[in-house]
Amino acid sequence: MKEKKKVLKSAASGSASGVINGFFGGGGGLILVPLLKRFVKLPVKKAHATCVIIAGMMSVVTAIVYLAKGAVSFGDAWPYMIGGAAGGLLGGVLLDKIPQKWLRRIFGLFLIYSAVRMLFHG
């Protein structure tokens, strides 16, 4: 019964995250990680790792939609894909080694700065 509840809570979290990830082509992890931690009660590292695989599943189907609708092509994306594959490998290794606290503070400041820039500079 407890496991069933966990699946239901995961389904609710995945659905909420799917709205964001599908609509914005990413960023589902922004709400998925806190939901997996606080709502599904996964330990921190497992929440982060599990988030990556869920976001991956959602991104595959959304990518198919975008490609089918002609919103993007592989020609636009290949350099980022090469850099991203190497970076993802590095990030997976570093997850065990780098304190998240300051990384998150810096990330938060960068997001606020970028949002203001986007809203007021068009």
Binding site: G28, G29, G83, G92, I112
Partner: protein, 132 residues
């Protein structure tokens, strides 16, 4: 933006962050739209394609480290995929101006949350497997 070296470096940096599970997806979209002048929906599409090898690489490491909770992964992933596909269909059809404004509001809220999170030490405390 037509310099492949800069594009690869941008992908690399965003990949490190998203490999750690810290919203690196939003990071690449921001760099593309705000600094490289790419249209919002194209930036989102690039981000989707870019994320796939990034995620695959990170997932291999996480599986090796036994950090994936499969019940949660499938429980969230299956309904998440259906809803993400529907939301994606909506995104390719609406006015780009509104898509960009909505995205800016999303990252503004996220930034504020990250910055003013009550207990920044919580990550370590609840991990439970860190020797002190």
């Amino acid at each position: 933006m037509d310099n492949p070296v800069l594009m690869i470096v941008a992908g690399l940096l965003a990949g490190v962050v998203s490999g750690m599970g810290i919203g690196g997806g939003s990071l690449l979209i921001i760099v593309l739209v705000s600094f490289f002048g790419v249209e919002q929906i194209l930036a989102q599409g690039i981000n989707l394609l870019y994320f796939l090898p990034t995620a695959a690489a990170a997932i291999v490491i996480h599986i090796k480290n036994k950090q994936i909770d499969w019940r949660a992964a499938l429980g969230a992933g299956i309904p998440g995929m259906a809803i993400a596909a529907a939301a994606g269909l909506l995104a390719v059809q609406i006015d780009q101006k509104w898509l960009k404004i909505a995205f800016a509001i999303l990252i503004l809220l996220t930034g504020l949350l990250e910055l003013f999170k009550k207990d920044p030490g919580e990550d370590k405390a609840s991990a439970g497997d860190e020797p002190h």
